[in-house]
């Protein structure tokens, strides 16, 4: 187990370096100049040159890349615009994004897994059709439409929930619902499909023959076998929720990492863009690692040592 963990952690390094290189190259390829944005058009050529030098923007790209990595390693990477360490900016926002993604995932799981189970057990009946309809709607409705519609109904008409901002559970409800709907749709279909497959396994017939009750057969035996693909989808989708919350964060004025990244791109704050993307990539990799570790809990047949 330890060896597996070590190998996986080591394998994250090339992923993170690859992500950093790509982001670094792309952000420097697109037009735009942070010095222009900071000093404005009235600045003298000497002031521009001085700031460019101070920010090392006059160095070759390879040198800038080296400086980026050394800044990262020493924790001295600083946002051009905010004059603050990138790590501080990113961590301040990562918490909000994590909170939103967790809430969206919890909502999706609470709703989609029971729905998927019911759909599998009532295959071909109205509950199954309802589940299919829900899944179709869930994946078809875009966030930029769903968010304002939820605000219109739950905030303006019913006056139950606030329109925007980060606060308690009430503030979290609508953004989590907006973000979690598509995941719920996917998860309900995956639960249904996995459970149907598990239900057709011969050992379940044996379990029933042994006189086990139907709920026990489904919950203890079938659902456990169906758990690995469901867990995979949850893991992958959670990573996607972290990086894909930009639209939801913008609609609900949620102060998360997605909005920080957009602002950093607009102002060409290179270190902040690189730091934000790296944080997202790291989180994604870690979530996948945790998912893999959870496989052993769900299915003891999985031996992690052999998988690395």
């Amino acid at each position: 187990m330890r060896l597996y963990l070590l190998k996986r952690l080591l394998l994250t390094l090339p992923v993170l370096i690859g992500a950093s290189v790509l982001v670094f190259l792309f952000i420097h390829l697109i037009p735009g100049d942070p010095v222009e944005v900071m000093l404005g058009e009235s600045a003298s050529a000497a002031d521009r040159a001085a700031l460019r030098h101070q920010l090392h923007l006059d160095e070759p790209l390879s040198v800038q890349f080296g400086l980026f990595f050394s800044g990262l390693a020493t924790g001295k990477l600083e946002s051009i615009f905010y004059h603050e360490p990138v790590s501080r900016k990113v961590f301040a926002r990562l918490g909000a994004t994590f909170e939103l993604a967790l809430a969206a995932m919890a909502l999706a799981c609470l709703f989609a897994i029971p729905l998927g189970i019911v759909a599998a057990l009532r295959r071909g009946r109205w509950a199954d059709s309802l589940s299919t309809g829900f899944a179709l709607l869930g994946v078809s409705i875009p966030n930029f439409w769903l968010g304002p519609m939820l605000i219109l109904v739950f905030s303006l008409k019913l006056e139950w929930l606030p329109v925007s901002g980060r606060g308690g559970l009430f503030h979290l409800a609508l953004p989590a619902l907006t973000l979690g709907l598509a995941m719920a749709a996917l998860l309900s279909r995956m639960t249904r499909a996995s459970l149907l497959e598990a239900l057709s396994e011969p050992h379940l017939t044996a379990a029933r023959a042994r006189g086990l009750s139907e709920p026990r057969v489904i919950l203890k035996h079938a659902l456990r076998n169906a758990g690995v693909p469901i867990l995979t989808i949850i893991g992958l989708q959670f990573g996607a929720l972290l990086s894909g919350a930009i639209i939801t964060e913008t609609i609900f004025a949620w102060p998360g990492l997605g909005r920080l990244l957009i602002e950093a791109i607009q102002t060409r704050d290179f270190p902040l863009v690189q730091g934000s993307v790296l944080a997202i990539a790291l989180t994604y990799v870690m979530v996948n690692l945790i998912t893999d570790l959870l496989y052993t809990a769900v299915d003891p047949r999985v031996r992690l040592e052999g998988r690395a």
Partner: protein
């Protein structure tokens, strides 16, 4: 609660450049001087000033103002604020101002002397930014922008990055204390959410941040009031004067005549814009009424294009093609598409390219465009003509993006910088406006109206040309 479109980057007045920070700063800081609704300079921390010779200005500070930590505002704070602009570590957008000052001296605790390197009339409007306390700014360094301490009517209580900025009255503020005990600025980047937050009562004030299409709906809401007044934000169509087609004046005049500006204003701005005649709005002290204007006259446009050597080919083919670059702002894109259509009617085929802001600006700076549209925001200082049209202001050294060159305009804008006499400056900039109206490096489109939509109970909030929130210090909740 007040809704903001974007996230303020810093609350250090020496550094802030973005509109969201600069609108909040007058609540936290006093400047040496301020500008009034006609862009004329009025006292703020300085109760008076004198200019014994062109290169020397002496400011006399008023007694009373204190920073929010209780310390009195002294001349040495003014000296430090101005001197610190030159510090490269600060990365101030006002470095150019620091370089114009040869020496800044505190003659006594309430008197500051500024010694200029050369006569520079825009000095006074460039001094409209907050004075910081020397001791705190030195102690906090880069942190000062997160934990600002000023002498304004309010002080910062908390700031959640990307979320809310909370202000409370400055207990040491000189003069009447603000009546509203807590101001919360919430960043609401999405147009639809911002308007719905206002309708729900979650937000009580939106300043210049309601899409014109939503105003008729908000007018029906009995809880809200809408107030508008002519604004100074200037929208224009810029030409690349190095382009072989657009360097011909007749073509530029034809384009000016081919745009139905009134129709566009009615359609897209719903009465929230006035037709512009030049960079300076009619209320400005240096505004020139006699400058040439161009009415919508497509027949005249066609005639000018024919005369310029671009006759309309047979079979409805275009006379020539142009590329029009604009931002991804929805309203702006629709407006530009309508202009492209209108130009098509006189035989100019225009392709519209809508670009992400950083890319658009980089293209414009590099001269990589034929037509573009941008805004000049909060125009108060006529020296903007130097920045926008002097031949030495061609990017990256300035904002003469269209590469306009006219020795007479160069001479006049240089003279305007060096002349302190208001009447003489008015005459100089009047002449500049007339020349530019004839040369047409820009087609003036609109001045957008300043519009505030607020809770009806909020009384006493006034609009200022820069579109800032300073009058919230005098506002109050009515009991109705």
């Amino acid at each position: 609660m007040i809704g903001l479109e974007g996230n303020p980057t810093t609350l250090d007045p020496r550094v802030a450049r973005d509109a969201y920070s600069t609108r909040i700063l007058p609540l936290l800081f006093h400047s040496l001087v301020q500008v009034d609704a006609n862009a004329e300079v009025i006292p703020d921390l300085a109760q008076s000033w004198e200019q014994p010779e062109p290169l020397t200005v002496i400011f006399h500070l008023r007694a009373g103002p204190r920073f929010s930590d209780g310390r009195e505002v002294r001349a040495r704070d003014v000296v430090y604020t101005l001197q610190s602009l030159a510090d490269p570590e600060l990365r101030s957008a006002r470095q150019a101002l620091a370089q114009r000052l040869q020496e800044v001296t505190a003659l006594d605790p309430r008197t500051v002397r500024l010694q200029l390197r050369e006569p520079y009339a825009p000095l006074f409007t460039e001094l409209v930014f907050g004075i910081v306390p020397e001791a705190d700014a030195r102690r906090l360094g880069k942190e000062f922008g997160r934990r600002p301490i000023g002498s304004g009517p309010y002080r910062l209580r908390s700031w959640e990055q990307g979320g809310e900025i909370v202000l409370e009255p400055n207990p040491f503020c000189a003069g009447p204390a603000p009546k509203i005990s807590r101001l919360v600025f919430r960043v609401l980047p999405d147009d639809v959410t911002r308007v719905m937050a206002l309708e729900r009562g979650e937000v009580q004030l939106l300043l210049n941040s309601v899409p014109p299409d939503d105003l008729p709906v908000l007018e029906q809401n009995p809880r809200l009031q809408i107030r508008s007044q002519p604004g100074t934000n200037y929208t224009y169509l810029g030409f690349n004067l190095e382009d072989p087609i657009l360097k011909r004046r007749e073509v530029r005049e034809a384009i000016a005549h081919a745009i139905p500006r009134q129709e566009l204003a009615d359609c897209f701005f719903r009465g929230q814009a006035q037709l512009a005649t030049g960079l300076l709005a009619p209320g400005h002290w240096a505004y020139e009424r006699e400058a040439e204007t161009y009415d919508y006259n497509p027949a005249r446009a066609q005639e000018l294009l024919d005369r310029a050597g671009f006759p309309r080919p047979a079979e409805g083919a275009p006379r020539f093609h142009l590329l029009y670059k604009t931002s991804q702002n929805k309203l702006r894109r629709r407006m530009v598409e309508a202009i492209a259509y209108a130009l098509g009617e006189v035989g100019i085929e225009v392709a519209v390219r809508s670009l992400e802001w950083g890319t658009l600006f980089a293209d414009i700076q590099a001269g990589n465009f034929q037509l573009y549209s941008l805004d000049w925001v909060g125009v108060t200082e006529p020296d903007i003509y130097y920045t926008a049209f002097h031949s030495k202001s061609i990017p990256p050294a300035g904002a003469n993006r269209g590469r306009y060159r006219n020795p007479e305009v160069d001479r006049l804008t240089e003279a305007g910088r060096k002349t302190f006499d208001p009447a003489e400056r008015r005459a100089i900039y009047g002449r500049v406006q007339k020349i530019l109206a004839l040369d047409l490096p820009y087609v003036s489109l609109f001045y957008s109206t300043d519009t505030v939509v607020s809770d009806r109970r909020l009384q006493g909030f006034q609009l200022f040309p820069e579109g800032d929130y300073r009058s919230l210090a005098q506002a109050d909740w009515s009991s109705e």
